[in-house]
């Protein structure tokens, strides 16, 4: 079924319009040509017929006049019969001057009257008959008229045939023209239609569309130009695709970089928030650490003033005041050290330090608070090193405090020192909870406290190991923690015997 759209397309087609135009021209032209032809042909026929009638009638008239002059009526009758044999002649008759028929090829008409004045079509009813009338002269005097009646049927038939032929030939000619127009217009129109399709495809963005026309005429050149245009568009868009691809890849990389930066910033932010939380916890801890000894100092001072107490008790309380004062002092210098470490103003005050003597001092300070817990073993080759005595003592004490803090009261702490090459190795080993591998670096960070519970003391400042590491690093040494056997942790401090390189910035 042909849809309205395709029907409309068909009638919109230039080819159909062309053919319709040809048909219209033919519809006007063919009848005109036919009429023209008939008119010419008709004239020809009638001229020919008139000449034939004229010569025939002259011959018959001559014979009649001859027979009348001889008065030979028999011959006259015979001559009339012979004339009748002519296919065009229907009747021959001779009349007197008044029109009374004297002789006739049809004997029934003798004695009747016919018109004599002129030649012409016989009457309205019988257009197919033509009467030729000629005066008959015998010896110089007109004796009557000869009347020859011709049939025009033959002529009419010939004319009709000519009309039919003319129509037929013109129809065939029209058909031929239409077929030729159809073929020629097809040859003209099809390439144009193809190019129209191709250009529509290009317009829709299909730059791979190509015309298949390869002729050398203007249409072929147009098709070649169209193909060139499509190829250039294709190259252009392909280039653009490449550039868009490159730009997209660039953007993707930039985006990834940006995302990476965002993640880094988020990570940094998270760390800062963590640090901030640690710091406020630290402030709280510092506050607690400082207030506890202050409470003792103020409280015992007040007690000594207000209560009457035995002298020994008074001395003990004064010693508590002194001890708590020292504890306060130590805490404050730890916080100050951390401030210096943070500000990058951590400068060593180095001198010759006897390590066995230093460790002995530390044990003297620590042991009374934790009787029987410390086991010391110092190698013979451990002598003096170049170090900041106060800071090194604090570093080692902090490591020992850490061991005491994170192991049960009944467990011993092993403290060893030995010389290995140009290094002194100090090991502090406990039988405590140990340090899991993922925390072995973190425990040295500021304010970091193991998630594991310290069994016998509330958490300290969270700075002890940080300060210890800072001190050891400043001496050009190193500090690490490893797993002890059968359990617990072992802190290893390595110190150069003499500071060979300038202290590292911490």
């Amino acid at each position: 079924m042909v849809s309205m759209r395709s029907l409309r397309e068909i009638f919109d087609s230039y080819r159909i319009k062309l053919l319709l135009a040809i048909i219209l021209i033919n519809l006007f032209m063919v009848p005109i040509l036919v009429v023209n032809r008939i008119w010419l042909f008709h004239k020809d026929i009638y001229t020919g017929e008139a000449q034939a009638i004229a010569s025939l009638s002259a011959f018959v008239l001559n014979s009649i006049e001859d027979d009348l002059a001889k008065n030979d009526t028999v011959h006259l009758q015979r001559a009339m019969q012979i004339a009748m044999r002519h296919t065009g002649i229907r009747a021959v008759m001779v009349t007197d001057n008044r029109g009374v028929v004297l002789f006739s090829s049809d004997p029934g008409l003798v004695g009747g009257t016919v018109p004599v004045e002129k030649s012409g079509a016989m009457n309205e009813e019988n257009r197919m008959r033509y009467a030729e009338v000629q005066p008959v002269f015998v010896r110089g005097g007109r004796v009557g008229y000869m009347r020859l009646v011709f049939s025009l049927a033959q002529v009419r038939r010939e004319v009709r045939e000519a009309v039919y032929w003319s129509f037929g030939l013109n129809g065939a000619w029209m058909l031929g023209v239409l077929i030729a127009a159809y073929i020629v217009s097809g040859r003209l129109y099809n390439p144009l239609a193809e190019m129209k399709d191709v250009s529509q495809r290009i317009a829709r963005g299909d730059f791979e569309a190509r015309s298949t026309i390869r002729s050398h005429d203007a249409v072929g050149q147009l098709a070649a130009a169209l193909n060139d245009m499509a190829a250039q568009l294709y190259n252009l868009t392909a280039g653009m695709q490449d550039r868009i691809g490159e730009a997209t890849a660039g953007l993707r990389i930039a985006n990834e970089t940006l995302n990476q930066k965002m993640r880094e910033i988020e990570e940094t932010n998270r760390k800062l928030l963590e640090l901030d939380a640690l710091k406020s916890e630290f402030v709280s801890m510092v506050s607690h650490d400082l207030k506890t000894p202050l409470t003792s100092i103020i409280g015992f001072a007040r007690t000594l003033m207000s209560l009457e107490l035995p002298p020994e008790q008074r001395v003990r309380y004064l010693r508590i005041i002194e001890g708590e004062g020292k504890r306060l002092s130590r805490l404050i210098s730890e916080y100050l050290d951390i401030s210096k470490i943070e500000a990058g103003r951590f400068v060593l005050n180095c001198g010759e330090v006897s390590l066995p003597a230093l460790i002995d001092e530390i044990v003297q300070i620590t042991a009374p608070l934790h009787p029987e817990r410390l086991r010391i073993s110092i190698g013979d080759s451990v002598g003096t090193i170049t170090a900041d005595k106060e800071r090194l003592r604090r570093a080692i004490m902090n490591v020992i405090d850490n061991a005491l803090k994170y192991s049960p009261v009944e467990e011993k702490i092993l403290i060893g020192a030995d010389r290995v090459g140009e290094e002194i190795v100090i090991a502090v080993e406990d039988r405590g909870v140990g340090v899991p591998p993922d925390e072995r670096e973190k425990i040295f960070a500021k304010f970091y406290r193991s998630g594991r519970l310290a069994p016998n003391r509330y958490p300290g400042s969270g700075l002890g190991l940080t300060i210890a590491r800072a001190v050891v690093l400043a001496h050009g040494g190193s500090i690490a923690v490893e797993e002890a056997v059968p359990k617990g942790s072992r802190f290893i401090i390595r110190l150069p015997v003499s500071v060979v390189s300038p202290p590292r910035e911490v």
């Binding site: 506050s287 607690h288 207030k291 506890t292 202050l294 409280g299 209560l307 310290a454 069994p455 003391r457």
Partner: protein, 124 residues
């Protein structure tokens, strides 16, 4: 009239000594514990009139011990005085409203203030 009893729970030996000597001098019967667990163990035998409780202690901390006392009907008469170095208002509200402490003192405190607070809670 029997003496009023005060139970001191603090992990700092100096503070324990300080509180004990002053409260004894003020006429109270004094007992001490060095951490929350020891405090919890001794509570039922002592059934003190007042507990002076440090907040930050290893093991069982002051808040947890406070809650244990408040959840025990046999200790309903025991008054609780919290001692801490934390002085933030939030901590005070937690101590009094959530854990049911009766009084809250911040270190360092004046001995006279502490004695007055105990007197307010349990009388002479």
């Amino acid at each position: 009239m029997p003496e009023k009893s005060v139970f001191i729970v603090d992990d700092d030996p100096n503070i324990r000594e300080l509180l004990a000597v002053n409260l004894s001098a003020a006429g109270y019967t004094v007992a001490t514990a060095a951490d929350g667990l020891e405090g919890a163990e001794k509570l039922h035998a002592l059934r003190p009139h007042c507990v002076v409780l440090d907040v930050m202690m290893p093991g069982l901390d002051g808040w947890e011990l406070c809650k244990i006392i408040r959840d025990d009907p046999s200790l309903s008469a025991t008054r609780i005085l919290m001692l801490t170095a934390r002085d933030r208002e939030r901590d005070r509200l937690i101590g009094i409203d959530i854990f049911g402490a009766d009084e809250y003192m911040v270190k360092p405190f004046e001995i006279d203030d502490l004695l007055q607070a105990v007197r307010r809670l349990v009388g002479e």
